[in-house]
């Protein structure tokens, strides 16, 4: 079932036409990978899904992004609610310079859940840290600063921080590029667990990673969605010559 539907989406940075008539359907509780060379627009497209591009001046967007048939670019959309429902993880882990506990509790608190009894908040922290496989490791160190964790732990923590506000979609922008291969593998395993509950969209330069974790892959080039299909087809038998050239390293 389609969770997100992108329809005739165009994005301009001033005069620069960055996304050109993108159409894409993102399946619920599956992992969709966006691949393509630097500057192809894949991160921009990802950021359209929770309106992160709104922060950039001179951006103009036409077309629709529907989440469960609701256009997130319509006037009556609540942006805070939207970004709670559609969380984002970045290339470099960016925990707050707070304790592990406060990092995870931060979201529920700012979303007005701070009146919750303390034990309920604690329950959310335990649940979120468990979901990313950090609870056992950190349950006795909840008060240490998050910046003291390893990069892999920090990235997991950032994901736990999202889960604490009960999102439905997780956006990942190069989530493993700062991690070593072992940590990458562990995070990829986490994705496979998370997709049981969440719809995940991942932007990656690592084609092996896209091949390993995603169910669907979209190849983008110069702002256009060149080819979209199930991951096996894209990596074994792509239909478009441009996709073929990119994934076999004969690009450019």
């Amino acid at each position: 079932m389609s969770k997100v539907t992108i329809e005739s989406l165009n994005l301009f940075y001033g005069d620069f036409h960055c996304l050109k008539n993108n159409n894409l359907s993102i399946e619920e509780k599956k992992i969709t990978a966006l691949i393509g060379p630097s500057g192809c627009g894949k991160s921009t497209l990802l950021r359209c899904l929770n309106r992160m591009n709104d922060f950039i001046e001179s951006v103009r967007i036409t077309g629709k992004v529907l989440i469960d048939d609701r256009d997130i670019y319509s006037r009556d959309i609540n942006l805070i609610q939207l970004r709670k429902e559609v969380g984002m993880v970045f290339q470099r882990p960016n925990p707050f310079p707070l304790s592990v506990y406060d990092n995870v509790a931060y979201g529920p608190r700012v979303h007005g859940l701070f009146k919750t009894p303390k034990d309920t908040l604690k329950a959310v922290v335990v649940k979120s840290l468990s979901a990313v496989g950090l609870w056992e490791e950190l349950k006795d160190r909840l008060d240490v600063s998050a910046t003291n964790l390893t990069l892999e732990q920090q990235q997991r923590l950032c994901i736990a921080r999202l889960l604490a506000v009960e999102p439905i979609i997780l956006l990942m922008d190069e989530p493993c590029s700062a991690l070593d291969p072992y940590a990458t593998l562990k995070i990829e395993e986490l994705f496979l667990n998370l997709k049981k509950s969440y719809t995940i969209v991942i932007v990656t330069h690592n084609m092996q990673q896209a091949a390993r974790v995603s169910d669907y892959t979209a190849y983008m080039y110069l702002g256009e969605l060149v080819e979209f299909g199930d991951t096996n087809t894209i990596f074994v038998n792509p239909k478009n010559k441009l996709t073929e050239e990119y994934i076999t390293g004969r690009f450019g």
Binding site: M207, F235, V236, N237, E244, I247, T248, G249
Partner: protein, 221 residues
């Protein structure tokens, strides 16, 4: 040219070399029988280890390329196809050895009747091998489909050969040991044609990404 492309070309050349070697042993094994040339038959048997060695080399190279280059799409299909078809080629080489072994035995015996079906089969089979390798090297054309169709001719000739020889055996049971060996030879050629068919199917997979094994082939594809 990128290093990877050079490596793929080198792999292609090795597969071509293996294909030529196999085609030659098929030709020579059948010639040794028809010309009653004992030395040629022995030579075919001796050459088998060269085919085996090259098969292993190609396999190792394919495994290395998969590990080092992590190929995708056409590259992945090309390398996996190379790996699979060399197994078929090597088996063809073994069958040519079997033909040469039976030839050595049959040369000792009187000629029952002139060889008619076997040279015909050998000619078709050699063409099949040549065309499959050609299709592998050049990419998809109609060739692999033609090869698959030619397998039926070989099957028909195998049956015809068998029927002719059983008719002789019924009349004269004394010649059964010789006649059975002649049916074996047809059977070996028929098996070689089957391996060529496997290769043709793999080449179609390589080109189109579509597995057609164990399926009815649509007309005119």
């Amino acid at each position: 040219m990128a290093i990877f492309d050079e490596e793929l070309n080198a792999l292609k050349e090795k597969v071509l070399k293996l294909g030529c070697m196999v085609e030659a042993v098929i030709r020579d094994s059948v010639n040794s029988l028809i010309e009653r040339n004992n030395d040629l038959a022995k030579e075919v048997i001796k050459r088998d280890h060269l085919i085996n060695t090259l098969e292993v080399k190609i396999d190792e190279e394919c495994i290395r390329l998969i590990a080092i280059r992590q190929p995708m799409a056409t590259d992945l299909r090309f390398i996996t196809t190379a790996m699979k078809i060399t197994t078929d080629l090597e088996r063809m080489g073994d069958l040519a050895v079997n033909i040469a072994e039976r030839a050595i035995e049959l040369i000792e015996e009187p000629l029952l009747k002139p060889y008619v079906n076997i040279p015909k089969m050998a000619e078709i089979v050699q063409g099949m091998v040549r065309d499959t390798i050609d299709a592998f090297l050049k990419g998809c054309t109609k060739l692999p489909y033609e090869v698959i169709n030619r397998d039926d001719e070989v099957d028909d000739l195998t049956v015809r050969n068998f029927n002719e020889l059983t008719a002789i055996m019924i009349k004269n049971p004394k010649i059964i040991p010789i006649a059975v060996k002649r049916t074996y030879i047809a059977k070996y050629l028929e098996r070689i044609a089957d391996h060529a068919t496997n290769i043709a199917e793999m080449v179609i997979y390589m080109c189109k990404g579509k597995i057609i094994r164990h399926m009815e082939i649509p007309e005119g594809e």
